[in-house]
Amino acid sequence: MGKKTIIPFGPQHPVLPEPLHLDLVVEDEKVVEAVPQIGFVHRGLEKLTETHDYNQFIYIAERICGICAFGHSMGYAETIESLMHVEIPPRAQYLRVILHELSRMHSHILWLGLAADAFGYESLFMHCWRLRERILDIFEMTTGGRVILSAVVVGGMVRDISNEMLADVRTRVQSIHDEYQQICNTFLNDSSVQSRLVGVGVIEHDDAVSLGMVGPFARASNVNNDVRSLGNGGYGQLSDFQPTLDSGCDCYARVKVRLQEVSQSARIIDEMISHIPDGDISVKVKGSPEAGAQAANTLEQPRGECYYYALGNGTKYLDRMRMRTPTSQNLAGMAQALAGCDLADVNMIVLTIDPCISCTER
């Protein structure tokens, strides 16, 4: 064995759209240990609750992360609604779920593209991103934004999506899903995909539980932790929801879980649009949270469970707004998966947790 060397990885690295620094301790070509270092994207936005009241904070919450933007605004709004005991109209709940599941589709397809790029399959990357553009078109049609949608307000939605437009969304999602099957087939049947992913970055079920992993990363190790099963908000209206699980425990299993979740989201959108009730889309929220009132909320983001906590102080300004984001939960699992891998597999394993650094650091 050679002597130990430390290779710095990032923060500027072609495979990462975001800055993450890893100190890779290597012996020859084997990674012995990976030490993540974060803090490049820290803005300190939780402190902005001191200068922004609970209504104004929603646009800060939406900008925690640009990929799960809608999810964060939805999770934040739900937390404040339970803090202030506000019941939102059912139509708003349905609309939120529809847009949230569209976000999940776009996030997973984006990730599949980045993963394809990481193992050197550039044309697959391009096809994934081409398909993703069509989901962004739906966002643009329904809310006016491509990335930051600004569709949620505390108490409901900013504006309605008409039933005709929803019918259009339904056919568009259907045709995106049809085209998606080709990409899906390539991921599942192409031998070059399998040879790069099978058996890479294995994390067993028990390790996944003890490391507290969340999201598709944990579900690929057969940990059933999809908080959508709890049926919060509009998810309670689903006729049937089964989390996508896989017992492969490797990078290939993580790809398969995300592949299936895209189809699952398409089905949820279809069901939601077919059952959406008519009616108001928001209620007026007046007053301020009581002093000492606390509320907690969980939401299944594309990357896993995100936990929100709010503490009121009797004014319009919150005393504390706290989020625990999925990637910060998964970093320990990533470090474990990296230990013992080949140096050439590092970028693949880092990507399979779908790191979202701006969520983690806020």
Binding site: H13, P17, V41, L48, C65, G66, R130, I148
Partner: protein, 148 residues
Amino acid sequence: MSFASKSPWVIHYDASSCNGCDIEVLAALCPGYDAERLGVINTGNPKHADIFLVTGSVNEQNISVVKEIYNQMIEPKVVIACGCCACTGGVFHDCYNVLGGVDKAIPVDVYAPGCAVRPEALIDAIIEGVGILDEKAKKLKSAEKEQA
């Protein structure tokens, strides 16, 4: 200004963006907007790059990284601040860990506004950047001639 004079290679760094602008930078290079048809290629090596696309504002931790990438780039070079945060700090301007726009760290040539910046605005900024790149190259040449 002719944008066909160069195929600008770009390097992208996320200073402290929320990701929104980063995925729009990538979306601008991918099918749909396809800036590659204008010769724009994404590179990971600062020495290969002509245009530096920075998203997000600078903070204490990343200001040295931004400066390092800028210093490693070969003249002539152009910096494009992508999105509101990179231009001024955006909604995060009064966060304790945000120093402000990218121009607090390095000279910025083109400001592309938007939250998140739209791919159209980015392509527009890149084309404007190529014009600035041409002017900078001319100045460099005439300076070299004077020296000789």
